[in-house]
């Protein structure tokens, strides 16, 4: 039966309109109301709000904590991208190429953190880092490295680097699976051909595997960057609350503090706008640098 034009449009409308309405309510409306509130001095807990024009943005520029939060965010982005991609790639290659008998078991073990809530991961690692009872300090003491022990999350210099480890640990599994999917799609004949040509395994990785899974790598990196910029605040909030002395505040946690602890909702919205702009710029820049023609052999 041939569909009439009317039926076709009806079907399209049926599919698109509910989605669009949901999108408008849950994405567009918050986006624009965030932008709207950023022009107000509003505590977020009453109806009194005063239009203040751009003064929240002026405050944003002169706020000494903001540049620190941006640096902290990018520190997490860079360390997470490097850490997760290297380890995920390593495990993916190991589990697909090295013919390990226990591969399915490891796959489950590495993926396990991904099914845990970030809040649980944060609390778990807070215990691991606990200055007196924690696994890390006890481990170091056991190894005779007392001088290395420190209150990891309570040290202004070490708190931020300490957040990297749980973030990487929590992220590996998903990207490992994505890369494994990519590697599994590479035809075995390429490796056979490379081997006949005398390429060793290292060369095979660089010349065959890496170019062919580039689309997966690109998506993984973008995904890590976006989720870090938008979501790193959860782990910060749970593990350090931004402290000590703002040494771990990321943009998101600082937004939360301003909007919900210090009752500067308008200023919080301004920080939100900044996060949106910075994330957009970052993604565009990344897209530009990671463009690479799709490789096919």
């Amino acid at each position: 039966m041939v569909q009439s034009k009317k039926q076709k449009y009806m079907f399209l409308a049926f599919c698109l309109i509910p989605t669009f309405i949901m999108f408008a309510i849950f994405t567009l409306y918050p986006l624009f109301s965030g932008l709207y509130y950023s022009f107000f001095d509003w505590s977020g807990s009453s109806q009194n709000k005063e239009f203040v024009g751009l003064s929240n943005y002026i405050k944003l520029i002169s706020d000494e904590i903001i540049p620190r939060t941006i640096i902290h965010d990018y520190f997490l982005v860079v360390t997470k991208v490097i850490g997760i991609m290297i380890l995920a790639m390593f495990f993916a290659v190991a589990l697909t190429q090295l013919r390990i008998k226990e591969a399915p078991f490891y796959r489950i073990v590495f993926f396990f953190p991904n099914i845990m809530s970030v809040v649980v991961i944060g609390i778990l690692w807070t215990f691991i880092y606990n200055p007196s009872l924690g696994l890390i300090n006890s481990g170091l003491e056991f190894l005779g490295l007392e001088s290395w022990t420190r209150p990891w999350l309570g040290d202004e210099n070490w708190a931020l680097p300490s957040l990297v480890l749980p973030s990487i640990w929590a992220g590996i599994g998903l990207f490992m699976l994505m890369l494994m999917g990519g590697i599994a799609n590479v035809s075995k004949s390429y490796y056979e051909a490379a081997e006949i040509d005398g390429a060793n395994e290292w060369q095979q990785f660089w010349k065959v595997t890496l170019p062919l899974v580039w689309p997966q790598i690109k998506i993984s990196v973008l995904y890590i960057v976006i989720t870090t910029l938008n979501g790193s605040f959860i782990i910060v909030q749970v593990m350090t609350g931004g402290g000590p002395n703002n040494s771990t505040h990321v943009m998101g946690s600082y937004l939360y503090q301003q909007a919900f602890v210090q009752y500067n909702f308008g200023y919080g919205a301004t920080i939100g706008v900044m996060i949106l702009i910075i994330s957009l710029i970052t993604v565009l820049v990344l897209q530009f640098f990671m463009r690479r023609d799709k490789v096919e052999y």
């Binding site: 009317k6 449009y9 009806m10 409308a13 049926f14 309109i17 509910p18 309405i21 309510i25 505590s43 977020g44 807990s45 009453s46 109806q47 009194n48 880092y129 606990n130 200055p131 007196s132 209150p151 990891w152 999350l153 309570g154 040290d155 202004e156 708190a159 350090t240 609350g241 402290g243 000590p244 002395n245 703002n246 503090q257 919900f260 602890v261 210090q262 009752y263 500067n264």
Partner: protein, 447 residues
């Protein structure tokens, strides 16, 4: 024609979807209509209609509230009481406050609540005149019977202090008192006692939460400021007056904190600890002193080791020879400016402030209600530390009470807390701290 039909159909689909959403979201509105019709009873002088009460349930539990509300219900059977209670109630009720549909009575306590903010936002009813007329059972005027008077904003009263909370220093009685170490009486004896404990027990004697440095600010520094400069200094610091934080008196006190840090009295892990962890360390005997409010034993009730005994003193930060100082933290009861049933709300507030309920409050919570003339000594249901503390607080030779005008705004407390933790970690000197605090005060004034 076809196009017209198409667009109509499109419109119909959109309209139906919108309708579905509106219906889904509108259940609250239905309630408020009912409320309006029910509330009409209050206008003829009778107390009736719905009465909504919002109260935070924290370390003190809710058993006292249940008792008072049940008694009130019995006294005023025509009132339909709706309770909004729980540990997250401040967050849960926020949308009601934002949409100008607040509950009638609110007990302001716990995370996510700020009396200062509520007053600044005009959400609380001005009670200045009304409170003058309230009398207790024996004819005493309520305003003359508060242990600490209500906080005032530009001379006006917007809330009545219900719970007399006070910060102080808890010590491990088995370790300090029975272990042969001196219970501190002033800062010098505090230091010498901590030194002896550090040498004798091999522990860092003092702990607090570094994730919430305001525990130290309110628990240790406010009393120190009060003792050194009285209510005036306290008010100047809390309102961020120019030059208050950089004054010699404050610098002198901050040098004491620096000394505690330099001599290794503060737990080296302090920066990492949240309040529960710090309290747990204290209970496990890893530390001997911790600044927390009266609620500590109640809050940690499930984790207290069997032989553990609490000792409580006002924080010993004052100079030699001076009495201890305490700065109470009051948890007030208030009526919403937009209360839909203000008559019932007033009746409830008046009902709760009695000496009888003050006594039962101490029994239920192990803390003190903000009413004078309540004799706890004869009551076996009141914990021992409370009777001792209560006796101490009521003896002006031993303890001086200082009052802050109102809680410090989060906009000032947050940056000061940030600098404070740096000082306690040894990353900042006392001089740098007061400069940072003065800068924060300048920014706060500028807002």
């Amino acid at each position: 024609m076809k196009n017209l039909f198409k667009s109509r159909l499109l419109f119909l689909t959109v309209a139906m979807l919108m309708l579905a959403l509106v219906v889904a979201c509108s259940s609250d509105d239905d309630n408020s209509d009912d409320k309006a019709s029910n509330d009409s009873g209050s206008s003829d002088g009778e107390i009736s209609g719905d009465l909504e009460i919002q109260y935070f349930v924290g370390g003190y539990g809710d058993s006292w509230w249940k008792e008072v509300i049940a008694d009130f219900q019995e006294e005023y059977p025509d009132v339909n009481i709706i309770e909004h209670a729980g540990p997250n109630i401040n967050e849960e009720m926020r949308s009601r406050w934002v949409s100008n549909d607040p509950p009638d009575v609110v007990y302001i306590d716990g995370a996510g609540s700020s009396e200062t903010q509520m007053v600044e936002d005009g959400q609380l009813m001005n009670l200045t005149e009304w409170v003058e007329g309230i009398e207790l059972d024996n004819g005493d005027k309520l305003v003359d019977s508060f242990i600490v008077e209500p906080g005032k904003f530009d001379g006006e009263i917007f809330s009545l202090p219900l719970v007399f909370d006070t910060w102080g220093t808890w010590y491990n009685k088995n370790l300090v008192g029975d272990g042969g170490y001196e219970v501190p009486t002033d800062f010098e004896s505090f230091m010498s006692s901590m030194e002896a404990i550090k040498d004798g027990e091999g522990i860092d004697p003092f702990v607090t939460t570094g994730q919430h440095p305001y525990y130290f600010l309110r628990g240790m520094l406010y009393p120190a400021f009060g003792a050194a400069g009285g209510n005036e200094l306290l008010a100047d610091l809390i309102t961020g007056q120019e030059g208050a934080w950089t004054s010699d008196t404050v610098l002198d006190i901050m040098k004491r904190v620096e000394r505690m840090q330099k001599e290794g009295m503060i737990d080296s892990g302090v920066g990492a600890l949240n309040h529960t962890q710090s309290q747990m360390n204290f209970l496990l005997g890893d530390n001997a002193f911790i600044p927390v409010g009266f609620w500590l034993p109640n809050e940690m009730a499930n984790d207290i080791p069997e032989d553990f005994e609490f000792g409580f003193i006002p924080s010993p930060m004052q100079a030699e020879g001076e009495p201890y100082a305490i700065v109470p933290d009051l948890r007030p009861l208030a009526i919403a400016e937009e209360a839909e049933n203000p008559e019932a709300a007033k009746a409830f507030v008046e009902f709760a402030f009695t000496r009888e309920y003050a006594m039962s409050f101490s029994e239920h919570t192990g803390a003190i209600m903000n009413i004078t003339g309540v004799d706890l000594t004869e009551n076996d249901n009141v914990p021992g530390y409370l009777t001792e503390a209560n006796a101490m607080i009521n003896d002006p030779e031993q303890v001086q009470i200082y009052e802050k005008p109102h809680p410090m705004s989060a906009d000032l407390e947050t940056p000061i807390s940030d600098a404070l933790i740096s000082l306690m970690l040894g990353n900042m000197t006392a001089e740098e701290f007061v400069e940072e605090a003065e800068k924060a005060a300048a920014q706060y004034r500028g807002e």
